[in-house]
Symmetry: C2
Subunit: 395 residues, 2 copies
Amino acid sequence: MARPERRTVRDVRRGNRGMLLRTLYFDGPASRHELTGLTGLSAATISTMTGDLLADNIIVEAGQVDSDGGRPRVLLRVNPAYGYVIGVDVAETHVRVELFDLEMTEKARVDYSLRPSHHDIELVTRRILAGIDVVLADGGVPADRVLGVGIGVPGIVERGQDTLIHAKTFGWDGVPLGALMRAGTSLPVFIDNGAKTMGQAELWFGAGRGAAHAVIVLIGSGVGATVVADGVVMRGSSNSAGEWGHTKIALDGRQCRCGGRGCLEAYIGAEGILDRAGVATRTTDWQAALGRVLESDSQVIEETVAYLGMGLANLINLLNPERILIGGWAGLMIGRDLLPGIRAAARANSLAQPCNATSIILGELGPDAVALGAATLVLEEFLDTSAPLRLHAAS
Amino acid sequence: MARPERRTVRDVRRGNRGMLLRTLYFDGPASRHELTGLTGLSAATISTMTGDLLADNIIVEAGQVDSDGGRPRVLLRVNPAYGYVIGVDVAETHVRVELFDLEMTEKARVDYSLRPSHHDIELVTRRILAGIDVVLADGGVPADRVLGVGIGVPGIVERGQDTLIHAKTFGWDGVPLGALMRAGTSLPVFIDNGAKTMGQAELWFGAGRGAAHAVIVLIGSGVGATVVADGVVMRGSSNSAGEWGHTKIALDGRQCRCGGRGCLEAYIGAEGILDRAGVATRTTDWQAALGRVLESDSQVIEETVAYLGMGLANLINLLNPERILIGGWAGLMIGRDLLPGIRAAARANSLAQPCNATSIILGELGPDAVALGAATLVLEEFLDTSAPLRLHAAS
DNA sequence: CGTGCTTAGTTCAATACGTGAACCTATAGT
DNA sequence: ACTATAGGTTCACGTATTGAACTAAGCACG
């Protein structure tokens, strides 16, 4: 019931220009002629619009295709060097900053490790700002060619007047990261939950490409999900939609670190699996330990498949997605070995109609796509507005 | 990632006209001057647009408000008699057809009872078509002033080339109700699941008014939900989103009539509750029986609150709605007595952040709003397109 | 009673946009 | 050199919103 916004003729141009740019980005290179078919716009409009975009240097020519008996087609593509985007992954053990060109080719990266329980917000902010300077220097990119910085953080990102972050494990309770960043750089800053940015990455560049209704499930030590409805990441009323890990699958079930009982995460999160297998989670290398469990402990494997299948079935019934992607380091390990069983368990627990409409597959991007996804937030903004590069004061 | 459609200047007009009409529908009556503020459009545009709408007789003047020292404002409102909409509720025991004017005031209704297990599609179609003729005659409305017919049916409504309906309990497996209706009437027909149309009714005219992110939960003998994201009913990839009743809340739990185990419906559906209380569901009057259980059986009450709270908590975590409405005949009975407990249980099982953003309240429209919601499908189409009445051949 | 003030609503020129038709351009084949 | 063919551009036209100028309809006060 949200009423749509007023529109003017200029919005038409903005919208069509954005669509043209997206088309060229994902289906390009393409000739002007092909673009008429792909966008539905007339040849006249394509002509003037590509003229504008060429003049702005946002797109460039990309060779010719000669036809047999006719003027050759001039191919157009987005200019990957028009601008650059920065993605930041703020995680338990590190802060990673990556620089991408518009085609999301990585140009530079830098890692700062964080000591456990040293997640002081000032420290993290300093690391991010320093990282931005480093990747720009390493990549040889001047700050005024950067379209923005996307940051993926743990916890709940509250988008209000000021972006506030609530991350229990970091001891962050309403931390104003947005304001702190603006104090240190003039670049536009976009912040979101790391699981969501990762989902965004899979949706745009991974196994989720082209899906209008999808769920990207993330299993690591924690469990989360990115729900995509009508091609857009669902955020809910306070941007916390997608907290799938604390979905309850049993009354008075296993104790979860969130304080509750019976959370899905307590069963199929990496820690939960190891715990069920009787592995001491204090000191061990979790990844190796999980590998051993998945090789040997048939009891735990069976349970894991059952619980995960049930959780996915609930998503299928409630959301009716066309695709479910399983990602996260633990999710990829589990999925690699157990996908057929998981699919069967999901089928057994869901209704036939929506289940047949869904395919359950693994993510493509591996567990380190948080920064890529964060940078994608900037790219999304750019493709939508396709605004000529604003000049920011140097950071 | 669904790419937006091409737009032209005419789309701007269509969109703005629709917005103006919606504004007038929900916030009206209003003067032209007020409309500039409400819509964001300029006085000039409001002037020409209201002129068009007045000429089309879609809106009418509704008196004046004299200001102190200035030209009085002329109030405008949607013309409730411009057109009429028909809503149909196809249920287990009856087919109900209702005629509404544009303000959703009921003008006529007719009920046909269905004998159990007599849900032959031809019979139902004949009842609907006969009902349309009856309400038009009773209401004194000529067929060419009807904007369309909305039909709420049980089961899954598959929207493809032809609308197909899969309703196990009716023995309908891919029934082409849309095509059958078109064979009997030239009125535009809109079909959706009855739980969804009821949710739509609550969203537009009940306790859900103004909510952008909401879930309308329906508890009767079955259990369903309507998920609203960004003001739009979420449908998923094959229009079956919202199957909340068969969400699993326990591994190997209670047997459900869907064939699965541990479905929420098997615990908090009317039949599930009665069953847990040891009431024979074969012959009893369910409504009375449920009333007795809710008055006396503290064990069952406690469990019901726990399970429902858990189910709602999962919705809160996953979808982060600003409002959850509880409806359906059983839901209203349960909620009337147990709402505080349910709220507490939901809080106990969900994360603080999204839980604080949600209010859990009862539906306002009672259990019989399926036909109203179905008619709302037609109204929605009308407000969006605001097309001058198409002339249909008489039905 | 008429003059000025105030608020509501309309008209019009300016500007922006997409489109179809006419037109120009660049290749291959002959 | 000429023609066929296909790619791309230009321009008049219809449609859209808007700000500014303008008209309409009331009140207050002398």
